[in-house]
């Protein structure tokens, strides 16, 4: 099942591109020239996003390196151990909104240390699959249109992240 779905997902992008260029040609579009004209817009967009990305990355890396991240995790640990949630899953819940690559590294570490079929592994897997790198998305998407006034967006995202993680924990309990 998974294999065939995986194959379909591999097919999506190539087929989409094939369809686009064939349809364009059929509609008498000079596809090469169109593509080049579109691609020219790329650098301007990235130049706009870059300062936002840099700003958020500096804050996140600093937060991790200063020991503040570990302290936050330990503070949460008390609450979560009371609810019988593995410490590894707590780390995952905190790191996933901050950094995609760090959460992948952490996940591999959890699988290695607690075993591939442990509760900590399953819970982290569900959190990993269901949470998003919120700060990265915020920096990139807001940067793309130079939004400065975000109104109540950030609190909504943070509350949603928290609820999302609680849901992930409950769902894991229910399935494993």
């Amino acid at each position: 099942m998974i294999k065939s779905i995986e194959y379909i997902s591999l097919l999506i992008i190539p087929l989409f591109i094939l369809f686009t260029v064939l349809y364009g040609t059929l509609k008498k579009v000079r596809v090469y020239d169109s593509f080049v004209a579109g691609a020219k817009e790329g650098p301007a967009i990235i130049l706009k996003i870059f300062p936002y990305l840099l700003t958020i990355f500096v804050a996140i890396k600093g937060f991790q390196a200063s020991g503040a991240f570990d302290y936050l995790r330990d503070a949460f640990y008390g609450v979560f151990s009371f609810l019988h949630i593995p410490i590894e899953a707590v780390s995952m819940a905190i790191i996933k909104p901050l950094s995609g690559s760090a959460s992948t590294a952490l996940f591999v570490d959890i699988v290695k240390t607690t075993g591939p079929d442990s509760m900590a592994t399953h819970m982290s897997a569900i959190i990993m699959g269901s949470a998003e790198t919120t700060f990265y998305v915020l920096a990139v998407y807001l940067g793309a249109v130079s939004i400065k006034k975000t109104r109540y967006l950030v609190p909504v995202c943070l509350i949603s992240d928290f609820i999302g993680i609680l849901v992930a924990v409950m769902v894991t309990r229910w399935f494993f």
Binding site: M1, I2, E6, S9, I12, I13, Y23, G24, K27, V29, F35, A37, G38, A39, E41, G42, I45, I46, I49, L54, I56, F57, V58, A59, I60, G62, F63, Q64, A65, S66, G67, A68, V111, P116, D117, T121, A125, M128, G129, S130, A131, E132, V137, L138, Y141, A144, V145, I147, K148, K149, T150, R151, Y152, L153, V156, S160, G164, V167, V171, F175
Partner: protein, 191 residues
């Protein structure tokens, strides 16, 4: 964002001083800068490719056809998008890419969607309700198949890696709905 950034930096520096991680903190600032450059360069490539494809979609008129097809669905969530607006296509494709866990494709599509939504923005620099809905859907992330997770589980000998698919689907569906409800509640309060 301003408050959050300020708090993160101040807390980090105070912690670095008290826990003796000052050197690590300074190094991490430059690490962050380096990571931002690396991610931007990577984005430069994939965003440009997507922009090229989008231009073909626009020139051939296909983008408006796709937009028209998904109009009824998107309209329920995004109230102020006019008929046949290109943002509908970008939003639809972004949600589909997220659904299949195609992160590489989802980001440029999301950027495109934000730019299209900004065309409808009367007060540039201030976020619109449509943009908020779109970002919340993205950060709550509905996912059908978490390929990277399954891949890692399989590599390290999990007895049934595919078992996470259904729980993830349930968890993301519930969390996306809750996220939209939270957003709706805030919208009422801060009208």
């Amino acid at each position: 964002m301003n408050v959050l950034w300020l708090i993160m930096l101040c807390v980090s520096i105070v912690f670095a001083i008290f826990t003796g991680h000052l050197e690590a903190f300074t190094t991490s600032i430059f690490d962050g800068a380096k990571a931002a450059v690396e991610v931007s360069l990577y984005l430069l490539g994939i965003v440009s490719v997507w922009m090229g494809i989008t231009r073909i979609l626009e020139d051939s008129g296909l983008i408006y056809r796709i937009a028209h097809l998904f109009k009824p669905l998107i309209c329920r969530l995004f109230k102020n998008i006019p008929d046949d607006h290109p943002s509908i296509t970008a939003i639809t494709l972004n949600v589909l890419a997220n659904l299949f866990g195609l992160g590489n494709a989802a980001t440029p599509l999301g950027i495109q969607a934000m730019q299209d939504l900004d065309e409808l923005n009367q007060d540039k620099g201030t976020i619109t309700p449509e943009m908020m809905t779109f970002i919340v859907i993205n950060t709550a992330s509905i996912q059908l198949i978490p390929f990277s997770v399954i891949g890692i589980l399989a590599t390290y000998g999990n007895h049934n890696p595919a078992a996470v698919v259904f729980p993830v689907l349930i968890a993301t569906a519930i969390s996306t709905m809750t996220a939209l409800l939270v957003l709706a509640a805030f919208r009422r309060i801060f009208r």
